[in-house]
């Protein structure tokens, strides 16, 4: 009872029992005594192992990550390509073995395109990058891990497949949305991810911009109005799809064409329709070999063959199968090719390339940021 009342009571006998020299030594040399311990008794694990354990554990584990072997390959990619590369890796491995090589160990890593590029810059040991935006690979090039002219090394601006932005609407298109202009109708709620965090969302924005330009509207005004119809800005494409499909928020989802088809397939064809607007963008997700992370010639051969495989008829057929617009349909299932309607596609060159478009529209204080700060002053 007494104990609990005297909270934090100081020692009654303090001062009588002190051992000055001992005390000072301990106070002055904490680091020394930390490693040293009177290692007797069952509790010696505490002192004997605590700190060396940290060091040893880190060392030992670091040691298990031996230098990459020739037959290993890491492909650092972005979010919507998971299904595609799962099949590509399997198909390529078979082909590689059939060509008389050892079985390769191909790993993939997926995440937001920007953060994946950052990981590679910070030392993620990727031999191949397959990202959403050329500007992300440009950033890796700036760090010196691959040459500045990487985009000219492979055909079609190093983009083995392309995609575009379409509308996903609710079954039967109850709000009658057929083109970009309809999105500003009263009561229409638009779901798109945040262009600041999602590469795909930048294409959504640019597609709207391009349509406004081609239809005699002030693009800045149009895009600003469009984002006023957005009730939720998710950070990634998948989050936006979930908000739209499973939470029932919004009337239309602006989505990658391949994501829209995938959503139909996975979530339910009877719940949604795809609407193709009159104008959209030609999104070119590029691929590149990361020179600095190539350990030896064997690995270079493997990485080169992997990228070439993406351009082979077989690889292109897989891209078609996963709802990407590829280039070579010679080996593709005609049904996979036929589903893509023709539309007016605007490339990034129209916006002066990513080096110009990125800071102008999506940079700090860029046009996208102004939409919200202006809105605030306007509404006051």
């Amino acid at each position: 009872m007494q104990k609990t009342i005297n909270l934090g009571r100081t020692a009654p006998a303090r001062g009588k029992l002190r051992h000055q020299s001992q005390q000072r030594r301990d106070a002055l040399a904490p680091a020394r005594t930390a490693g040293f311990a009177p290692a007797t008794g069952p509790a010696s694990w505490l002192s004997g192992t605590a700190l060396p354990a940290l060091a040893l554990a880190l060392m030992a584990l670091a040691g298990t990550h031996a230098p990459v072997q020739a037959q290993e390959l890491l492909n650092v990619s972005y979010d919507p390509t998971r299904e595609l590369y799962r099949e590509v890796n399997a198909a390529f491995a078979q082909k590689w073995i059939a060509d008389g090589h050892e079985e390769p160990q191909i790993e993939t890593s997926h995440g937001g395109s920007g953060s994946q590029a950052r990981s590679v810059i910070d030392g993620l040991n990727a031999q191949v990058v397959t990202l959403a935006l050329a500007s992300d690979i440009d950033k890796i090039a700036e760090s010196g891990k691959l040459p500045e002219d990487w985009q000219s090394k492979l055909p079609h601006n190093s983009s083995p497949y392309t995609s575009t932005i379409v509308f996903l609407v609710r079954e039967g298109n109850p709000k009658g949305l057929t083109d970009w202009g309809d999105l500003l109708n009263d009561g229409v709620e638009v779901i798109t991810p945040n262009p600041k965090t999602s590469g795909g969302a930048r294409w959504n924005y640019l597609a709207a911009w391009a349509w406004a330009e081609k239809n005699g509207q002030d693009p800045r005004q149009f895009v600003g109005d469009l984002y006023r119809h957005v009730p939720v800005l998710d950070t990634g494409a998948r989050g936006a799809t979930t908000t739209f499909a499973q939470r029932g928020i919004g009337d239309v989802l602006l989505a990658w064409e391949n994501e829209a088809y995938l959503a139909l397939e996975e979530i339910g064809e009877d719940q949604f329709d795809i609407v193709v607007p009159s104008v959209s963008v030609l999104a070119e997700p590029p691929v590149a070999l990361v020179e600095a992370n190539i350990a030896n010639d064997d690995q270079r051969a493997l990485a080169t063959a992997y990228l070439d495989f993406l351009y082979s008829p077989e690889g292109q057929a897989l891209a078609y199968k996963h709802f990407y617009r590829a280039w070579d349909d010679s080996a593709a299932d005609p049904e996979d090719v036929a589903r893509f309607p023709q539309l007016d596609l605007v490339g990034i060159d129209h916006f002066g390339g990513w080096k110009k478009a990125q800071p102008e529209h999506f940079g700090d204080g860029g046009i996208f940021d102004q939409i919200y700060t202006n809105k605030d002053t306007a509404s006051n």
């Binding site: 009342i5 005390q23 930390a34 920007g114 600041k196 998710d234």
Partner: protein
Amino acid sequence: MLSKPLIQRTAMPGLGLSAGITLTMLSIVVLLPIGALLLQGAQFGLANIWDTVHRERVWAALFLSFRLAFLAALFNLVFGVLLAWVLVRYRFPGRRILDAAVDVPFALPTAVAGIALTALYAPNGALGSLAAQIGWKIAYTQWGIFLALVFVGLPFVTRTVQPVIEEIETEVEEASATLGATRFHTIRHVILPMLTPAALTGFALSLARAVGEYGSVIFIAGNIPLRTEIAPLLIVIQLEEFNYDAAGAIGIAMLVISFSMLLAINLIQIFTRRRIGHV
């Protein structure tokens, strides 16, 4: 102040060992990495950090994060003490299940928690639809953020207060009752003061955790700039633009505010402890 030595001398053993382990671990795990962040900030320059932070949108996000984190921690303080009391003092069917459930917010990955909460409290969710009937929107508003922050901070107060309640001896309460105190008076003047240090600790931890929370909040927040955009999201946005400097600047701003708040709470706590201790 001058008369107080750096370390009060005492015969208690283990000063060197405990100080050694504490300081070494603190340095490797906390001080060095945070030092790296501050170094980055120092290279960026104080003026640039101020410019980055001193913008309407950043202020709005910081204010939102700290305000909602504070409210959530306050809710957790009250509810957490109540919960700890109920769990320790009462016996009723299902008590052990309740006890185990308190730790669930730690165990569930934050992203899973965010998805599950959003699924429940979205307008078409099981609980969200009920709320919607009375015109109460939870998901995609500040209520949603509050809810997610309450969730991630919930275990802290309960888990810090619980052991203290277990240590309280009935004799104290009996003495109080013998001296004529009502039950309410005993709780107010005897028990709550004993719980104060632990409860404040829990409050501080809950607050700190809520301020930095990202994974569970982004699913339920709506993320509309100036309205439902939290500060950690701004950091992620800067990182997406490869802008380590600006990301670091906002991170440092959050760090400084959180650190000051925690320091204030810890000082209050030490002060109250001293006051009670010397009664």
